[in-house]
């Protein structure tokens, strides 16, 4: 086979240098693989670019928190147990997929240093930090200019409002990407 012609009584010796031809199969497989990988990347980029809903998630979260503060006041919302119950937010989902930072009378809530919170998420007595509540960490990424175009950074929304003389700022972030689950 492979161009080796056998006659009766002839020994099976390839005198035509066909080894080179045979090894071309591997080159061919390599070539097909490269073409396949290129096409696969192209198709995936075209079809699977995804639909980014994180910014909208953050908008809705900030809107709900602002409404919640307006209805309940700030003092009654302090601490995780109060905040999640009164604002009707699921704690597990919010902690896993979102970020929240609420500041009082701060000029730059994103970079405002955080105080110390107790186990329930209440600011410890005597701590005068302007950050009065937070869920999550690393809020600095919300302030990065390049972060807006970087897919790997969470999408953040800043919302300002006043209650009486006090100025409040909410930083809400969304970092959830959809999960693909294998089914039967």
């Amino acid at each position: 086979m492979w161009g080796i012609k056998m006659k009766k009584g002839e020994r099976r010796i390839d005198r035509k240098g066909n080894l080179g031809n045979m090894t071309m199969v591997f080159m061919f497989i390599l070539l097909i693989s490269l073409v396949g990988i290129g096409l696969y990347i192209g198709v995936e980029l075209f079809f699977a670019s995804g639909y980014d809903a994180r910014y909208v998630d953050a908008e809705i979260l900030a809107y709900k928190i602002e409404n919640c503060i307006s209805e309940n006041g700030v003092e009654g919302l302090m601490g995780n147990s109060n905040f999640f119950r009164k604002c009707r937010l699921n704690r597990n989902m919010t902690e896993e997929y979102n970020m929240i930072k609420i500041c009082k009378n701060s000029n730059d809530c994103v970079n405002e240093p955080e105080g110390e919170f107790d186990d329930d998420g209440k600011l410890k007595d005597g701590d005068n930090s302007k950050v009065i509540f937070k869920v999550g960490s690393n809020f600095a990424v919300c302030g990065f200019e390049g972060g807006k175009s970087n897919y790997n950074y969470p999408k953040c929304v800043l919302r300002n409002f006043k209650i009486g003389k006090d100025k409040y700022e909410i930083v809400a972030g969304g970092k959830q990407v959809s999960a693909r689950e294998q089914t039967g």
Partner: protein, 169 residues
């Protein structure tokens, strides 16, 4: 003539492995493109996120109808027959899963502390000239959190007897 025929046969035989590999590659890739071309995963991702957006905004007592006609068409084309497979809302894990093709489903979680009940695909009231419903709608009701277990009902199979006239043509 014979010599020519023999040399052509030799040529074919010499290259048969290349031809087999090439045909296998083309068939495999055509199958892959066909599987992706109708965008089942992309639409699944889109529907999951849009449904979650509506749930996050909703208040207890709201009733929601969403146009899912395009998704149901894709799902039927992809032979996803069970309604419970197409749209799943899990109140325990607060997540919405959409499956419009065989294999994987896309899931997205909502942070609003509510339960979703009565979800089902229903035909719209609007009819076209032939009297067929023009759209398939996903219906669900938003209620206060009841208890942490899966709540919801799946009443029909798309295209089946209990589909309530769902239009999947």
């Amino acid at each position: 003539m014979n010599k020519k025929a023999e040399s052509f046969g030799d040529l074919l035989f010499d290259n048969v492995i290349y031809l087999i590999l090439l045909v296998m590659f083309i068939i495999g890739f055509m199958y892959y493109i066909y599987a992706r071309a109708d965008g089942a995963e992309t639409w699944g991702d889109y529907y999951a996120k849009e449904i979650v957006k509506v749930i996050n905004f909703a208040e207890p007592g709201d009733e929601v109808w969403l146009d899912v006609h395009k998704g149901s068409e894709i799902a039927v084309k992809k032979k996803v027959k069970s309604l419970s497979e197409m749209f799943t809302i899990d109140n325990v894990q607060n997540k919405v899963c959409v499956k419009l093709g065989l294999g994987r489903r896309t899931c997205y979680s909502y942070f609003n502390e509510v339960d979703i009940i009565g979800w089902n695909i229903l035909p719209s009231e609007g009819k076209d000239e032939s009297g067929q419903s023009t759209k398939n709608l996903l219906y669900f009701k938003v209620v206060d959190v009841q208890k942490k277990e899966s709540v919801g009902n799946v009443e029909g199979v798309v295209g089946g007897e209990n589909s309530g006239g769902v239009n999947v043509a």
